[in-house]
Symmetry: D2
C-alpha cells in the first residue's frame, strides 16, 4: 500500500464565455481510494462533477466568464494494486473475453489497429501469448521511439508515430496499445499523475486486458508503474483530455505534482517490476 | 406506426475454429419494438446474446467449427418514431448537453473531427444552428460525394473520403457526422436495415443530438428515413460491424432484406421529411 | 519592363562541417534578365554555382566550417514578361503538349494529383477550359484556405491542406497546382522574391502550362504577379528549398527584400491582371 | 554479356478518343544496347517516339480511336553491365555528388524520405556507409514486407507500406529507395523487364548512387539482378508508368515476357551477387 498526494493548477485567460470539462480528478476505484480531495477555483465558480464515458471518468464541468480563471486540484489517494506474478498471467482467448472489454479491440482515432495487423503479427506473432508478450511490445516500442517533446501534435496517431519514430508519453501509449489490439488483446488508454516524472506533468500510459483483469503498462519507462495514479480511462487520448474547451480560452500556465507520502514505490522503472492492476 | 420485416443470411466457409460476433439483430427500444425474431444456424451451434458498447448493441456471439457455417436472422419490428417539426428543433448549447452524449463529440477512428474544425466552420459556421444546419450538412455531403461501390475500403476515414470525393453509405455517414462533431453537435453512427434500398444491403446512417434527443439523418438519400431499422449504434462503423471474425472464415454469400408490412413509409427520400427520432 | 532589386541574408550557426545548397539566386531567362548580382559570405568561403533539376535551378554549393556563417545575396533583374490577354489563352489538348512539360502532370511529394481527380472534376469540370479555368482554381483556393503562419509544416501536402483549410504561400501554390494537374493541365512550383510582400519573405507561387507557354499564378493574392521574381522551378517545394543542409546548422536569422526601381508594377493584386509569362 | 529478348502485348477497349503514353520500350544506354525492336499496333496507328523526364525515358505517344486497340512490343537487348566488387564501393560524401544526382535526394510522391529521417538513422545509422549499407536496406525491406498481390494500390506510398507491411514490387522499391534518400544516398526508381519473374510481369526495382555511378538493387529478390532490363527511370513509379491514359480506355489483357538467349544470368537471386551498374 502506498499513499500519494497529487495536484495540479491550470491557469487560463478566458476571452469569451467558455464551457470547460476538466478531467484532472483522480479515479476512485477498489484499488485506488481517494482519501481526500479539494477543488479551488479563482474566481469562485459553480461546477458539477459528472461521470462520462464507458469507464465513468469524473469530469468537473463548468462555465467560465471572460477574464482570468484558474482551477487548482489537490488529492490524496491510497494505492493498493493487485500484484501478480507475470509468468502466471495468460492472454484470454477471444471467446473468454467479457463483453464489456470487447470495444477495446476496436480501432480508435489515434489507434488504427486495423492497419497494423500484419506488423503486429510479424513482430510479435511468434512470442508466447501472455503478460510477457505485452511487456515485449513495451520493450519494442521503447527501443524504436525517441521521446522528443514537441515532435507530435494533437493529430498524431500511432501509425504516424511509427513512421516518424518519435513522440511523447501519449504517443508511446498509443503505439503499444494499438499493437495489443492488433493481436486481439483488449487495450485502453489511461491518463494520470505519476510519481517520479521529471519534469512533472500529466502522464499517459495504458492497460491491457490479460487473464481476468486490466494490467498497467508504461512504454516510456519514465515513471515506476506502482506510482501511477489514474485519472481518466478511454479508447485513446481523445477520451481523456485533461481539459476540453468549447469557447475561447488560452492556457497561460500549468503545474502538476505527485509525491509519495509512504516509501513503497520503486525508485526507478526497470521494465521488470511485477504485474500491477488497479482497475 | 409502421411494421417492418427484416432479415439476413450470412454464409461462411470456416477454415479454422473461429470466434464470431454478429451484430445483425435489431435494437429493441421504446420507438423500435421487436415483435418477433428468430435465429437459425446451420449447422446448429451454441450462442449467447450479449450487449456491448456504450449503447448496448445486441451481439450474437459464438464459436464455429471448421466447415460451412450460416446464420439466418429474421425479425419483425414496429417503428413508432418520435416525429418533430424541423424548425422547432434547436441545437443544445454545450453546457446543456447531458454527460452521456459528450463522448460523441470526440474524434474516432473514421471520424477525425479534430482535423475538420476549420472546414466545418467555413462551410457551416454562418448557418443558423438547429436541425436545418445538420440537414445542410447532409445536403453538402450528398452534393460533394459520389456514391461508388468499391471506391473505399475498411481503412477509409472521413478525411480520406473528403479528399477523394467518393464512397459508400458508411462513408457518407462518417463525413456528415464528423462535420457535426466539428461544430460541437454530438453525432454517432448507426447501422441498420433500410426499406427501399436497391440493391438490398445493410445500411449505414447517423444520428445527431439536437434539443433533447437523437435525430436520424441519412446523407445518401438512398432510403426513406422512416424506413430505417436500427441494428447497432456507435462512435463510427468500427463499433457496428455486422460481423467480427477472430479466426479464419470467408464470407461466401450474403443476402439482406427489409420489407414494410404496413403502408406508411415514404416512397422516396426527398430530404424534406419531418425530423425522426427512434433512440 | 520593370527593374527590381532583390536580396537576402541568411545567418547560420554551424555546429559540424556542413554541406549547403542555397537556391536563392534569381533565374536568368529571356524574360527575367540578371543585370547584376553579388554574393558575400562571412567568413569567406569557396563555392560553386551549379545548375540542378529539370529546369536548371542555379544553386550555390559550399561546405561551411564550424562557427557562424552568413550568406548575403543581392541582385538586380529586369522583368520583361510576355503579356497576353486571358480570353485568348486556351488549354492545350494532351496530344499537343510538348514532351518536356509532360512530367508536370505527374503527382509529386506535396501534390498528390492522383488523389484529386474526382474533386477537380466535380469543382472545375464544367468550367470552360483555358486561362480562366486556372484563374477559377486560384479563386477557389483563395476562398477556401486561410493564410495562417505556422499552420503547416514541411510534411504538409496539398491533400492535408485541403482538409485543414489553412496554410502558407507554398501550401496555396501546392493546392492550386495539384488541382491543375488533376485536370491534365501541366503545373509546377516556383519559388521567388515578390515586390510588395508584407512582411518580406521568400514567396511560393506556381505556373500552369496553357497554349504554348507557362503562365504565372499566385493563389495567395499577397503580391502583384508582375512583381514576382523567379528563383527556383520544380515539381513542388521539395525541388526549390532556399537552403538544403546536410550536416548540422541552425538558421539564426534571415532577411529578404524586393524593391521595384521603376514604377510599373501593379500596386495591389486584384486577380484580374493580364496573363504573364516569364519562363 | 547476355542477350535478352523482351516483349509485351497490351490490349485495350477504347470508348472515347484517347491519348496514350506508353513507356514499355527498353532504354538504350552504354550498358544496355538495343539490338532490334519492333512495335505492332492493331489497328495500325500513327505514333511518335519521344524522350521525357530527367533521364529521357523513351515514350511511344499516340492517339487511339474508339474501338479495340492493341500494342505489341518486342525487342532484343545486349546487357553488358559494369560489374564491381561490393566491398570496394563507397558512398559519396554529399559535397562529391554531381549536381545531376542531387534531385534524387528529394522526397517524391511515393517516397516521403523527409518523414523517415529518424527511422533510417535508427535502423541504418550505425552500419558502415557503402554498397553493403544499401544491401542491408534491401535485406531489411525484404524481411519486413510480405509480397502480396493486390495489397496496395496506386495511392500507396512508402510510409503506407511500412505501416501495413505488405506490397508488390513497386512498393518494395519505394520503401528501400526512400530509406536511401533519408540517409542522403541518391536513389531512383527503375521500371523494367526481368528474366525469371514468375508470373511474368513488368517489374519495379531501384538504383542507388554510390561512388561514381548508379547501382541496381531489387529488394524483392524475385529475379536475378543481372537479368533486369531497364525501361523507365524516375523519381518513383509516378515517372515510369507503363501506360498513361488521358481519355477513356480499359486494359482488357496484358502479357509480358523476358527470356535470356545466352546462358549468363544467375538462376536464382541470393542477395549476394556482385554489384551491377547499367546506367
Amino acid at each position: 500500500m502506498s499513499i500519494i498526494r497529487v495536484g495540479c493548477e491550470l491557469r487560463y485567460r478566458v476571452t469569451a464565455p467558455t464551457s470547460f470539462l476538466f478531467n484532472v480528478a483522480v479515479a476512485d476505484t477498489t484499488h485506488q481510494v481517494v482519501r481526500q480531495e479539494h477543488f479551488t477555483m479563482v474566481p469562485q465558480n459553480e461546477y458539477t462533477v459528472e461521470n462520462i464515458g464507458e469507464e465513468g471518468n469524473r469530469i468537473v464541468r463548468l462555465q467560465a466568464k471572460v477574464g482570468d480563471f484558474s482551477l487548482q486540484y489537490q488529492a490524496t489517494v491510497t494505492l493498493e494494486p493487485e500484484v501478480d506474478d507475470p509468468p502466471t498471467i495468460m492472454e484470454a482467448e477471444h471467446p473468454e473475453l467479457p463483453s464489456e472489454v470487447l470495444p477495446y479491440l476496436n480501432p480508435s482515432r489515434y489507434c488504427e489497429s486495423d492497419r497494423l495487423l500484419r506488423l503486429a503479427g510479424k513482430e510479435f506473432g511468434e512470442i508466447a501469448p501472455g503478460y510477457s508478450r505485452v511487456a515485449a511490445i513495451c520493450d519494442w516500442t521503447h527501443a524504436r521511439l525517441d521521446y522528443v517533446a514537441g515532435s507530435t501534435d494533437a493529430r498524431s496517431s500511432a501509425c504516424d508515430v511509427l513512421v516518424q519514430r518519435a513522440g511523447v508519453c501519449r504517443d508511446f501509449a498509443h503505439v503499444a496499445l494499438t499493437l495489443c489490439r492488433a493481436l486481439s488483446i483488449p487495450a485502453r488508454y489511461v491518463s494520470g499523475y505519476a510519481v517520479g516524472l521529471n519534469p512533472p506533468d500529466f502522464h499517459g500510459f495504458f492497460e491491457a486486458y490479460l487473464g481476468t483483469r486490466w494490467y498497467l503498462f508504461d512504454a516510456t519507462r519514465m515513471a515506476p508503474r506502482d506510482g501511477l495514479v489514474r485519472i481518466g480511462t478511454g479508447r485513446d487520448a481523445a477520451d481523456a483530455a485533461f481539459a476540453t474547451i468549447i469557447g475561447a480560452a488560452t492556457l497561460k500556465d500549468m503545474t502538476v505534482s505527485a509525491q509519495e507520502l509512504t516509501d513503497e514505490i520503486a525508485a526507478q522503472p526497470t521494465g521488470d517490476e511485477p504485474a500491477i492492476s488497479t482497475a
